[in-house]
Structure formats: structure tokens, C-alpha cells
């Protein structure tokens, strides 16, 4: 394993001192280097632009640079004009002179060795320009440096139907298609594996081979074990829930199919146009595969017609286009059919998830066991991370007595799964939230009160060591409860109508830049240039995939410099001109890029203020910058225009330039896998969904959603609302209708947009987006992510609402009408009812014990409410760590207080027998332990 994954191994010496260059592990509950926000100086903000305004979440470090220009105002995205007028150029819109059309030959077999490829007939076909096979691309690549297991074209064997075998470029598409039929290939068919459970067993021919690290002869790509907390709490629970889930794979379903144009220019440099979320990784992978230095490659990101994680891997077809272009000297354009989009996939993993939860008599969550077996398909992609995320991203927002997670990702002969909006967190989140509801049902208490009485406060530490800063979970829950009239609906609606709750927790930027040392290089860099005309050009590598990152960057620069947004021009398309940025994934862009942009803008602002000082004679501390004018704060009549100050600053120097960067603070634990799920901030969300279930047909219709999301600070409320509503749509697809169907032959049966059922406008409920602003101390103007987190809660909210409507718990997603019907029929027959319309629906059955517990929860959540407000503002700065709810002292490490406190990343030998499905991967040994390849 590469050092990149254990964030800081061996970071403390035996004598307790810090090892040079290594981060220290902050004491539990410290909430990082700055546990609370700094007090704000209201003198810095003129009243006219928001001084003395009500800030419920406390002051923010960026308050002093607010000019009231644009942050927090709803405005259309800066690139929307190009899109609505059809002038935005997407991947397939790039037309270079003399272009040729590339087509890819794909495997007709699920799993086979290529014994020989004869291309002579292809080459002889008139109109064919270049042909390439695996022999032209021997170097492997992959999105994660630890799992480089892909090739541009199959080198030795194909791993799923649709895997790339060879490619050809020709004068037109028809010729290229004809050429594909002329390849002569000798195959040796191998026995495919489709069932992830089979992937745990030894096979004659594992899909990949990892040498000494290979797990026996299985198809396990990654296994994870994590156990934290006091396991003795799990014994004799007051209440428990147990859910065994089957979740189908889902695809992003973005509008624009993959497309790429490669051109080896006259100077011998590669110009590659591609709709990429992460152009930088493509840049690196191209360099490896083509064996040319990175500076000889220019990756040009076109507009991206939707990504959602599906365009964040470096893709083999990008390499193919480059190889064909290098061979022919002509530009090559490759555009996918929709079917090819499904074959390259990278959608959400098909998962088998088992969640066991327990609660004690005070309604505290004492046990939290997750077992997740995920089906990775043919390649690793982001799977290494997904294997962790399935467990660790479920450990908040609740305070847990113990946490036990076993996860395994296996290779199968299916298109590769990867990262998709809500990466790795969505499926377990659904299982966990439904489990909580089940426990609330068993204890006869309100599920919202159960949640409110178990939340971690702001500035705290989770059980596995994540640092939580701002936390708007409580407000989100309260606002959806009040907005939906929960008290009058829950367990009170007639048969077929139901209401349900679900919560979410997601990272706002991955804390670790996977390709380099986080202590030495920043996550994001932004350059700003201001020339004599006063226009501000911002260079950034942030990839706008429709979420509005370009707008966010323009907004913060505009805010700091007090300029209209029309004066800010963002250049983000070319790697030649933009500083390195990790791209759009793990909801990092606004948090990291806008922070970098603020720093760069501050440098320009200082230069302008100093120039104004020169002219006016007043110290910058007494100057106010506002709407293209800088003036003396005690007499606004004394001032200079923006251009005057700019030209003064440019004297002898010319254009002003600045550079700003963002680096995440030191944080997190040191155990194996500690870096997975680590983020500088976390978003929180709570949804209430209302459904109508047709009890005779089994059709579910979601009618209303109250969707509260804590995004720290909505830089652009319009964009945040768009993300919330869009997330609802995407999540509803997974919970109600979308699935990748693999038939009995292992073929993907529905690789098209008719049979892959993305909800239409008719299926969309009325969504009421509720923005919660908890003002994150480290976010740009307090902002956190809003792109992925809002997807999580809709799934459990709908599943819980279905239970409220018909009293049946489903553990299979999606809830297609046949699954729902089956459940209804089973219950109808069990209760010996004539008709499904006679089904009883769930009601509270209060007893003295549950009434008491309900009171206790109410009381506790009221106390915690006060605690949270105090911690969010400056009053309470004491440490808080997961475990305080169970009576532990946050200032002493838990393992010192409690003998049973465990922190393990490998199972004890005696545990092996009782591990869950994915945990079975721990029964196998690595090759090096078996005396295999060393």
C-alpha cells in the first residue's frame, strides 16, 4: 500500500514528541486548531452592506472582507447564457479541420483471453486512417495511484462485455464502423463471475492479479475492517434493528455521452478536448500511457453536459483518441453511443449491505454494525475509497457507543462501478436511517426525537476521528419537522399515505489530495490578473460540471473586490493556463477553490488599498472598499475610484497578478484508513418525504419533500436550491425505478434511456428546499458543499414513508411496483385479508415505558439544543468527543478511561467466525502470508 493512504503513519515518537514533518493528532474533541470562530469586529462592515446583521451561527473570519456585493444573492450561473442559447461547446461540438472519426472495438465476451489480433484486413480497408490495439498502450493507469489496473485497450484479457479491445480511425463514421467488423481475433473464453458473493471465493483465474498483496486467489479488490468504541454496550440491548439490503447498481444518467477530440499539434504537443470533471487526472494518466511529459500535453476541458462522478476517471477512450491521433497526425474524434456510456459505467456499486443497530434504555445508539459487500465490476476505479466510505461516512451525525464495520469490494465481469454523487455514502446511509426508524418503531418513540437526542454537537469529533466543525443538523431536522406538519401526520395518515424522515452527512472536500503530500502542496490554486481596463481575469482549474463552480469563484472574487460580477472573467478550460486543481469530485470545489480564490483576491485588494493609501494618505485599516470605489470610512466623500487606485498600483509594474492557494488543516487519526472520509468540513441534511402508495398495484408516488440542507452559507441560494431539487430527482430514481439489470446471461439488459428508468417530470414531487446556514469557520464566507449531500436523505425518507403508509419494510432498492406488490401480497396472505385495501397501517402503541422514554428524549434534545447553540457561538469552548453522551470525559483519551474501548483495523482471530458477508474476506490470507509471490 502506498503511503498516500495512511495519512500520517508513525506521526508520534515513543517519547511523545512530534516527528518532523508529520501532523500531530489533535487531542480528542479539540475540533482542530481553531475550535470556534473568531469574534468579529462589526466596525469592519459598514451598516449599509450588512454590518450588525443577524448571524445566528456566530461570526465568521471572512466577515471582515464582506463588501455586500454579491455573496448570498441568488443569481443565474455565469455560463448559463452560453448554455441556453446553445452556444456552449460540449465534447462532441469540437470540430477541428481535417478530423477523422474514431470507433472502438468492444469485447463481445464477458471474460476472455486475447490470443491474437489480426488487423491486416482493417488496415487494407480504403478510408481507414489508423488502427491501434493493446500493444500500443502497454502502460497501466487508474484514477487512484494505488490501483492502476486499467489499460487504454485490453492487453491480455477482456474483463467485461464492452471492454475496449482495439480502436480505429477513418474518414467517416460509416467506414470506421465497417472497419470494426474486419478485426480477426482469436479468443480463449474464461469462466466469468457475476455474483459478488462468488467473488469472495477462490477462482482459477482472478480478474486481476495483485501479486503478493493478492488475497488468496479470490476476486477481492479491497477489504476493510474497523472497530471503534465499547463493544460491551452492544450486549443486552433495549432495542435493536437488523436490515439485510440488496441494492442494485445505478448509473449517473448524465445527458451528454462521453466524447473526446485528440489532436497532436504541429509542435508535437497533444491537445486533448474532453468533458472531464477531473482534467488533472486525465493529464497525469495520458502522460503515463503515452509516455510523454505532462508539459507536452494540454488538456482542454469542454463544457460538461452532466458528470455526477461519471466523468471523473481518466478514461481509456481518451487514450485511444490520443494514440490514434499520434499515429495518423490528424485530429481524432470519438463520441459514445448511449450503450457505450453504460459499458464504461462508473456508477454506484451494486451492494449487499447488512446493518445491525442497538439502543440502550435511554435511547442512545450503543451499537452500529455495518457489513457491506460491493460489486466493483471489472476495474478498481475509485473502489478503494468506496470500500471505506460505505462504513465511515455513516458514523455521523449521531453519537455512537460503538462502531463495527466490515467491507469488501470484489471484481466481477461487469462494467466497472465507481464514484457517483454521494460516493459510497448513499446505500449505507439508507440502511442506517431505516434501521433507526425501525428502532424508533420498536421503542414506540418519534423517530425525529430519537435523532435529535443523539446528535453530535458543532466542534466535535466522531467515533473514528473526523473533525466536525459547523453542524446544522439540529436546525435541519427541526425545520423539516415543522415545515411538514410532522406531528399531525406521522402514524396518523390513512392507508396508502405515509410520511418519513431521513438524514444525511457528507464530506465537503476530501481532506487528502491523493496524488501528493498534503503538507507540501495545496489542494487548489487560483491566479488572478487585473490589467489596465479593470477587468479581473481568474485562472482556475476547477471543472464546472454544471454545478456552478465557475460562478462561485467569480462571486467570491467579486465580493472581495466589490466589483460587479460582469467584471470577473473566469478562465478554467485549459491546463496550459490554469493552475493545477484536483477537479470536481468529493464536493470539494466551492470549499477549496473559492477559499483559494479569496486568498488571491485579498492580495489584489491589499495592492489596491495600498495604492489608495498612497493617494489619500489614510491607512488601509481606515479605508472601505465598495462598489468600484475606495473611501475613508469616517468620511465617504474622501476617496478614489477603483480605476484610479488600480492605475496607481500598476505604476512601474503593469498588470496586477496574484496567486492564492488552499490547503486543508491537519486533522484526523492515524489508524489505517483514517484518511478516508476526512474532510475540512461536513454537510448535514434532513428530509421529510410524503408518499402515496397504490396498495393494489404497488406503485409509489412521492408527492412532497421538505428538504433541509446545511451548506454553511449559501453563496448563491439559487444554485443551492437547484442542487437540492436535482439531488431529490436523482435519489428518487435510485429508490423508485432506476437499476442496471443484468440478465441471466450476465448481459446488461437496459443500456438505454428508455429501459433504464430515470424519473420523468411526472414523478417529481413538490420539493421545498430549506437552506440551513451554520457558517463554517473554514469555508469561504462560511460555505460548505451542497452538491452531493442533499442526495442522501431522500432514499431513507421515501422508504420510511412507505412503511408509514402500508406498514411494510422493504430492504430492496429500487422499490419497483413488483417488489412492493410482492411485499403487500405476503402481508395480505399472512393476515388472511380478502383485499389489500384492508391492510392495517402502523400506529403508535404507547405503553408507560415508551411514554417515559419519549419524555426523556424530548428533554435530552432540549438540553442538547442549548448545548449546540452555545458551542456554535463563542460561549462554550470545551472539548467534545463522541462518547461524552455515554458519560466519558472528553479531555482524557477514551482508551485510557475504559478497558473495553477498542480501536482496531483488523479482526481478532476469535472474531473471524462471526463476521458478516463482506467480513468473510478476512478469512482469506494474502499471497505473501501464504508463501506466494514475495
Amino acid at each position: 500500500m502506498s503511503a498516500g493512504y495512511r495519512q500520517q503513519p508513525n506521526s508520534s515518537r515513543k517519547d511523545g514528541k512530534r516527528v518532523a514533518g508529520k501532523q500531530v493528532f489533535p487531542p480528542p474533541g479539540s475540533g482542530g486548531s481553531r475550535p470556534v470562530m473568531k469574534e468579529r469586529d462589526l466596525d469592519y462592515i459598514p451598516k449599509s452592506v450588512g454590518g450588525k446583521e443577524h448571524q445566528p451561527a456566530g461570526s465568521h473570519i471572512h466577515d471582515r472582507i464582506r463588501t455586500g456585493t454579491i455573496v448570498g444573492k441568488s443569481l443565474p450561473l455565469v455560463d448559463s447564457n452560453a448554455k441556453v442559447t446553445g452556444q456552449a461547446w460540449y465534447g462532441d461540438d469540437v470540430r477541428l479541420p481535417n478530423e477523422s472519426i474514431g470507433k472502438i472495438l468492444r469485447s463481445p465476451h464477458h471474460y476472455a483471453k486475447i490470443k491474437s489480433i489480426d488487423t491486416s484486413k482493417v488496415e487494407a480497408l480504403p478510408g481507414v486512417i489508423a488502427v491501434a490495439t493493446g500493444a500500443d498502450s502497454p502502460s497501466s493507469f487508474g484514477v487512484l495511484p494505488v490501483t492502476k489496473d486499467e489499460h487504454a485497450m485490453a492487453v491480455e484479457k477482456v474483463r467485461h462485455m464492452g471492454d475496449l479491445v482495439a480502436c480505429v480511425s477513418a474518414v467517416d463514421e460509416a467506414t470506421a464502423i465497417e472497419a470494426l467488423g474486419l478485426f480477426e481475433i482469436e479468443w480463449e473464453i474464461l469462466e466469468p463471475v457475476f455474483d459478488p458473493k462468488k467473488g469472495l471465493e477462490d477462482s482459477d483465474e482472478p480478474i486481476h492479479w495483485r501479486g503478493k498483496y493478492h488475497l488468496s486467489k479470490t476476486n477481492v479488490q479491497k477489504r476493510v475492517f474497523q472497530e471503534f468504541g465499547d463493544r460491551s454496550l452492544v450486549e443486552n440491548p433495549y432495542s435493536s434493528s437488523h436490515g439485510k439490503w440488496t441494492m442494485h447498481g445505478v448509473h449517473h444518467g448524465f445527458t451528454e455521452p462521453h466524447a473526446v477530440v485528440a489532436h497532436w499539434d504541429p509542435n508535437g504537443r497533444l491537445q486533448l478536448y474532453t468533458p472531464q470533471q477531473v482534467p488533472h487526472y486525465t493529464h497525469r494518466a495520458l502522460s503515463t500511457v503515452l509516455d510523454v511529459p505532462m508539459h507536452q500535453i494540454n488538456v482542454i476541458r469542454t463544457f460538461v453536459g452532466g458528470g455526477f462522478g461519471g466523468k471523473s476517471d481518466p478514461f481509456p477512450h481518451e487514450m485511444c483518441a490520443a494514440i490514434l491521433s499520434r499515429k495518423s497526425g490528424r485530429p481524432v474524434r470519438i463520441t459514445f453511443d448511449r450503450e457505450e456510456v453504460y459499458w464504461i459505467n462508473r456508477g454506484r456499486h451494486p451492494s449487499n449491505i447488512e446493518v445491525k443497530m442497538t439502543a440502550d434504555e435511554e435511547g442512545r445508539i450503543s451499537g452500529f454494525d455495518i457489513d457491506a459487500l460491493i460489486d466493483g465490476g471489472g476495474f478498481a476505479s475509485f473502489g478503494h475509497v468506496t470500500s471505506y466510505y460505505n462504513g465511515v461516512l455513516a458514523t455521523a451525525p449521531y453519537e455512537l457507543g460503538s462502531f463495527h464495520y466490515t467491507g469488501a469490494r470484489v471484481w466481477t465481469n461487469k462494467p466497472a462501478s465507481g464514484a457517483m454523487r454521494g460516493h459510497g455514502a448513499v446505500n449505507t446511509r439508507c440502511a442506517v436511517e431505516v434501521g433507526l426508524d425501525e428502532m424508533a418503531e420498536e421503542m414506540n418513540v418519534d423517530p425525529i426525537d430519537l435523532r435529535l437526542a443523539n446528535l453530535l454537537p458543532p466542534h466535535s469529533r466522531t467515533i473514528t476521528g473526523f473533525r466536525i466543525t459547523s453542524n446544522g443538523m439540529r436546525e435541519a431536522l427541526e425545520r423539516v419537522r415543522d415545515g411538514s406538519d410532522w406531528e399531525n401526520k406521522f402514524r396518523k395518515l390513512p392507508l396508502g399515505k405515509g410520511i418519513g424522515i431521513g438524514c444525511g452527512f457528507f464530506i465537503s472536500g476530501s481532506g487528502l489530495p491523493i496524488h501528493w503530500d498534503p503538507n507540501r502542496f495545496p489542494h487548489a490554486t487560483v491566479h488572478i490578473q487585473v490589467d489596465m481596463d479593470g477587468g479581473v481575469t481568474v485562472h482556475t482549474g476547477a471543472a464546472d460540471i454544471g454545478q456552478g463552480s465557475t460562478t462561485a469563484v467569480a462571486q467570491v472574487v467579486s465580493e472581495v473586490l466589490a466589483l460587479p460580477i460582469e467584471m470577473i472573467h473566469v478562465r478554467s478550460h485549459e491546463s496550459d493556463t490554469s493552475p493545477v486543481d484536483l477537479g470536481s469530485y468529493s464536493s470539494r470545489v466551492t470549499f477549496m477553490n473559492a477559499n483559494a480564490a479569496i486568498r488571491a483576491a485579498l492580495e489584489i485588494r491589499d495592492k489596491l488599498l495600498n495604492a489608495a493609501w498612497d493617494i489619500l494618505g489614510y491607512h488601509p485599516n481606515t479605508l472601505v472598499i465598495n462598489d468600484r470605489r475606495i473611501y475613508y470610512k469616517h468620511d465617504p466623500a474622501i476617496g478614489v475610484s477603483y480605476l484610479q487606485a488600480l492605475h496607481k498600483a500598476q505604476e512601474d509594474k503593469g498588470a496586477l497578478i496574484s496567486s492564492g492557494a488552499y490547503r486543508s488543516p491537519p486533522m484526523g487519526g492515524v489508524h489505517k484508513g483514517a484518511a478516508a472520509g476526512l474532510a475540512p468540513a461536513y454537510s448535514f441534511s434532513a428530509y421529510v418525504a410524503e408518499v402515496d402508495v397504490d396498495v393494489e398495484l404497488g406503485l409509489i408516488k412521492c408527492t412532497n419533500v421538505w428538504a433541509a440542507h446545511d451548506c454553511g452559507k449559501a453563496l448563491n441560494p439559487l444554485a443551492v436550491k437547484g442542487q437540492i431539487i436535482g439531488s431529490c430527482h436523482m435519489g428518487l430514481g435510485q429508490v423508485l425505478s432506476e437499476k442496471m439489470v443484468y440478465g441471466r446471461t450476465g448481459h446488461l439488459q437496459n443500456a438505454n434511456l428508455l429501459d433504464y428508468k430515470i424519473p420523468s417530470i411526472h414523478e417529481m414531487p413538490h420539493v421545498e428546499p430549506i437552506i440551513v446556514e451554520s457558517s463554517d469557520p473554514e469555508g469561504p464566507f462560511g460555505a460548505k458543499e451542497a452538491g452531493e449531500g442533499p442526495l442522501l436523505p431522500i432514499l431513507p425518507a421515501v422508504v420510511n414513508a412507505v412503511y408509514d403508509a402500508i406498514g411494510i419494510r422493504y430492504n430492496d432498492l429500487p422499490l419497483t411496483p413488483d417488489i412492493v406488490y410482492k411485499g403487500i401480497e405476503k402481508k395480505r396472505k399472512k393476515l388472511k385479508l380478502e383485499d389489500a385495501t384492508e391492510l392495517p397501517n402502523p400506529r403508535y402503541t404507547h405503553g408507560p415505558k415508551s411514554i417515559e422514554l419519549q419524555k426523556l428524549l424530548k428533554k435530552r434534545s432540549e438540553e442538547h439544543r442549548k448545548r449546540d447553540i452555545a458551542r456554535q457561538t463563542t460561549e462554550d469552548t470545551s472539548a467534545y468527543v463522541n462518547g461524552v453522551l455515554f458519560g466519558f470525559d472528553p479531555n482524557i483519551p477514551l482508551e485510557d478511561q475504559l478497558e473495553g474501548w477498542r480501536m482496531a483495523t483488523e479482526p481478532d482471530p476469535e472474531q473471524l467466525a462471526e463476521l458478516g458477508l463482506a467480513g468473510k474476506a478476512w478469512l482469506k490470507k494474502e499471497q505473501r502470508e501464504m508463501g506466494g509471490e514475495n
Binding site: P108, D337, R338, H747, L754, D755, K757, Y821, K822, E825
Partner: protein, 325 residues
């Protein structure tokens, strides 16, 4: 996706169309008819049973007529509404596919819709990798993939919405071809087999549909089962019609459950002629229909589910009859 090449013929009259067809038959050339193209051209792009010639009906004037008792084959589905169209037809037409598709799709095309199957409606590469199927075997004589080891019958599912509705209104179809015009009840137009589909002979096309006067007295309903309220083909469909106050006049037809739409009027004759007992009678009718249909596993939802809920659809289609007579 690239459209395969074909020669497009544009006859300006019905006679010219028949003549072109006759000429192509003489030259031993294969051809397809196209009206709206929303079914055929999508299949062509997937290289499913493509032909070198396509005869378009879109330039022939007068065959898109819509009146009380007659609808021409080129009538667009989006135009099947308003006073002169029977309310059940309007109801069913409004549920077909999406509003964009309804703008170009036609009545004739919908009645002659190709049968569908998830082993068949796939790209050429996909079908090659399963060694083709019986319906599009590319000359290999491939077996059926839905029910293997029988290659006499194709079980692809007919998923048109209009046919059952027209059946319960007693529609008659008028076919025309080089050998003249043929007229028959719509129920006789379909022929069991997912490949043959209907009785159209080479060179013939469906010209128009006419209705008996009695149909204007009929009321009824069309129930469509689908996952999404747009785009989706029916997973099951039930049409019912009756003359107000006369339960003996009930007609029932189903679609999307077999290779052809099915007119159940004869099957239910005994039941509706015996003593009518409101809900109980409807229940027996529903059970009878369920027994009579045999869906197979080749659409989005499993066949046992589709078969079970046919009962619910029948019940709902007849719900307004309760209390009558």
C-alpha cells in the same frame, strides 16, 4: 448513432404507393413502410431488421383524416383529441410515449407497432454477443432467448396502447395494397407470433380505421400500467367499453401481455350474460382475464406481477359500471 443507408420513396398518392410496393416486389427488393418513424427508425439505428428501401406515407394527402367514424392511418397521436375523437381513444392516445413522440407518431404506426423484447431491442453488438435471437437471427436460425429450445414462435410483446381501445369500440381496419383493399375487424388483424404480428401481406399497408355508429354510444376506460407516467410502453393495458345501462354490452381487450393485443369479448360472453352481480361479477371477470393472458419475461416488469395486476386493471376499467343496471 448512425442511421443505416436506405432509399426513401415518397409516393404522393395511395395508388403510387401501391405501385412502388408492387415494383419493389417485382424486383425482389425488401422494403418497410414508414409513417411517423418513431418506432421503425429507432430500430433501424440499432440495425434491427433493416431494409434497403423505405416507403414513406407522409406525402400522401387525405390519409390523416379524423372524424367521428373514421381515422386515417397518418393521423398524428397528438391530434387524437377533441370532439370528433372518442374519449377512450383520446385517453389512451394521451398516455402514449411522450408529447414529443406523439407529435410525429401516427395511428397506423401504433397499430402496426413492432413487438418488443429485451433480447431483441438492443444494439447490433449486443445481439451479436448473445448469438442473435429468433426474431432477428441474421440468417443464423438462432433460438428464442426468452423461452429457449423452441424456435417456432417469437414471444416478443406487443406494446401498443390504441389497439385494445379500438377493439372494444368495434373498429374495422382497411388494408390496401397492389391487390386491392381488404376490410376486417381489428380483432382479426393481429396474428399470433411476435414476428408475423398481423395479417398484412407484402405490399399492403393499413389505410384507415372505421367505427360502427354504435361506438358513439359506448363509454369506457383504458387502464395502463407503467413505471413512469411518460415515455414508457405499457407493461399491461386493459380497455373496457359498454353501452350505458347495458352490462351485456361489455367489451374487454388487453395489450402488452402477449405478442398481440387480445379481444376478450367472446371469452366473457357467458359471464356478462348471466346474472350481473356488481362487484362480484367484476371480480369473476378479472379472474377470467388473468387466467387467459400469458405474459413472458421480456419487458421491464416480471410476468407474474403483470399477470396478477391485470385483475386490478380490469376492476378499475370497469369501476364506473358499478351501480349501473
Amino acid at each position: 448513432m448512425l442511421m443505416p443507408p436506405f432509399i426513401l420513396h415518397h409516393p404522393k398518392s395511395v395508388n403510387e404507393a401501391c405501385q412502388i410496393a408492387a415494383d419493389l416486389i417485382d424486383q425482389n427488393q425488401e422494403f418497410d413502410w414508414v409513417s411517423g418513424g418513431t418506432d421503425l427508425l429507432a430500430n433501424y439505428k440499432w440495425r434491427i431488421n433493416t431494409k434497403p428501401n423505405v416507403i414513406s406515407l407522409s406525402n400522401i394527402p387525405g390519409i390523416d383524416k379524423i372524424s367521428n367514424l373514421e381515422i386515417g392511418c397518418m393521423a398524428r397521436l397528438s391530434d387524437l383529441k377533441g370532439k370528433s375523437v372518442h374519449p377512450i381513444i383520446a385517453e389512451a392516445a394521451s398516455k402514449i410515449a411522450s408529447s414529443l413522440i406523439r407529435k410525429s407518431a401516427t395511428l397506423g404506426g401504433n397499430l402496426c407497432l413492432d413487438t418488443r423484447c429485451f433480447w431483441y431491442n438492443q444494439s447490433e453488438d449486443w445481439r451479436r454477443s448473445i448469438d442473435w435471437c429468433h426474431k432477428a437471427d441474421c440468417g443464423t436460425g438462432a433460438d428464442c432467448r426468452v423461452i429457449p429450445n423452441q424456435n417456432t414462435l417469437c414471444v416478443a410483446t406487443y406494446q401498443g396502447d390504441l389497439a385494445p381501445v379500438l377493439m372494444v369500440l368495434g373498429a374495422t381496419v382497411h388494408l390496401i395494397g397492389p391487390n386491392g383493399e381488404r376490410v376486417m375487424p381489428l380483432s382479426d388483424f393481429y396474428q399470433l407470433d411476435g414476428m408475423k404480428k398481423n395479417v398484412l401481406q407484402k405490399g399492403e399497408f393499413l389505410l384507415k380505421v372505421t367505427f360502427p355508429k354504435e361506438s358513439r354510444q359506448r363509454i369506457g376506460s383504458y387502464q395502463k400500467l407503467r413505471v413512469r407516467d411518460s415515455w414508457d410502453f405499457p407493461e399491461a393495458g386493459v380497455a373496457a367499453s359498454w353501452i350505458e345501462g347495458d352490462v351485456k354490452s361489455i367489451r374487454l381487450a388487453t395489450t402488452a401481455l402477449e405478442s398481440i393485443p387480445k379481444d376478450h369479448t367472446e371469452e366473457i360472453e357467458d359471464l356478462v350474460n348471466s346474472k350481473w352481480n356488481g362487484k362480484e361479477s367484476i371480480k369473476s371477470l378479472a379472474a377470467l382475464i388473468k387466467k387467459s393472458v400469458k405474459p413472458v419475461n421480456n419487458t421491464a416488469l416480471p410476468p407474474n406481477y403483470r399477470r396478477s395486476v391485470v385483475q386490478v386493471l380490469v376492476k378499475r376499467a370497469l369501476s364506473k359500471i358499478n351501480g349501473d343496471s
